[in-house]
């Protein structure tokens, strides 16, 4: 595990929270994956969390998997940044509502962590010269 690059580790941790949070209750007896809570938002966040978790694991553990470097002009880390930020925005929007439960708060915390991790990973990619040696 490459501990010298905290970005992928943060993405991994944030992704785990983004997967666990929607499974737990968001408000009342309603879990995040239920459409009663916020439509498909919980499921979308869970799927985004799986994606970010996967990318974080691949980068952190150096797993050799053929990941496309760019999709529609975005790098994988940039896609994780946008996904994590979108999840954070719309889940945190509920944080001020009454009766929210631990699942919702874990979800937006995980999304914030994943977003920060992706930003750190992007910055590390830009500052590390080719060859990885400083």
């Amino acid at each position: 595990m490459d501990t010298s690059r905290p970005g992928p580790l943060m993405m991994l941790g944030g992704g785990i929270l983004m997967v666990l949070g929607p499974i737990l209750k968001w408000g009342g007896d309603t879990s995040g994956v239920s459409t009663d809570a916020a439509g498909l938002l919980g499921i979308i966040v869970l799927l985004s969390g799986l994606f970010i978790l996967g990318v974080g694991a691949v980068r952190a553990f150096g797993i050799e998997v053929a990941i496309p470097e760019r999709i529609a002009g975005f790098t994988i880390e940039q896609i994780c940044l946008i996904d994590g930020f979108a999840a954070f925005l719309w889940v945190f929007a509920f944080a001020t509502e009454d009766g929210t439960k631990i699942g919702l708060h874990l979800t937006w915390l995980g999304a914030a962590l994943a977003t920060a991790g992706a930003a750190v990973a992007i910055r590390q990619t830009r500052t590390t010269p080719p060859g990885g040696v400083l």
């Binding site: 459409t35 498909l40 938002l41 940044l81 946008i82 930020f85 509502e97 930003a119 992007i122």
Partner: protein
């Protein structure tokens, strides 16, 4: 004033429509309904998204000489617009699947956020906005004088060639007795 490009026009119109959509019904709860401003901070975040994307598109169109930051958390301006449009699209898409059905606010938000994302993509394809031509009567700025060229370094001298060794003398045969 530059004519807005299709991408910039889509972003500005999409941003304005998204802001209007935030005041329309998003969610029905029995006889009542909620718009985005009744759902926590959703309306506020929509306002932020609209403000950012419209500002970027308007500056790039009407004041392209303004220096906007090129890098925002690892994204360039067009990627920021596409990303925010995508985020708003996700939210609107999610709200289409509420138990009591969707409302006009969700539909309009979906379409307008899609327009923002597509507009950002078109702007990325179009490249940087062209700076306006200077007004007539003003000479265009002169390019800086070329730097004096440094004399070319002398060509490396080839190493002195070693004199070829004399050919080996054949062994002298003794004269026959």
């Amino acid at each position: 004033m530059n004519n807005p490009r299709p991408g910039a026009l889509a972003i500005m119109i999409g941003g304005a429509l998204l802001f209007i959509a935030s005041f329309l019904d998003f969610q029905a709860i029995g006889p009542f309904s909620r718009n985005a401003w009744d759902i926590g901070l959703t309306g506020f975040f929509i306002l932020l998204i609209c403000g950012v994307v419209i500002t970027i598109a308007a500056i790039r169109t009407f004041a392209p000489q303004t220096n906007l930051p090129d890098n925002i958390l690892g994204l360039d301006q067009n990627q920021v617009v596409m990303g925010l449009g995508y985020a708003a699209f996700l939210m609107a898409f999610a709200y289409l699947f509420l138990p009591e059905g969707f409302k006009i606010g969700s539909i309009l938000a979906l379409l307008s956020s899609g327009a923002i994302a597509v507009g950002g993509y078109l702007e990325a394809q179009a490249g940087d906005p062209v700076l306006p031509a200077p007004p007539t009567g003003v000479a265009p700025p002169t390019p800086p004088p070329p730097q004096p060229q440094q004399p070319a370094p002398p060509a490396p001298q080839p190493p002195p060639t070693q004199p070829a060794p004399p050919p080996a003398q054949p062994a002298q045969q003794p004269p026959p007795p």
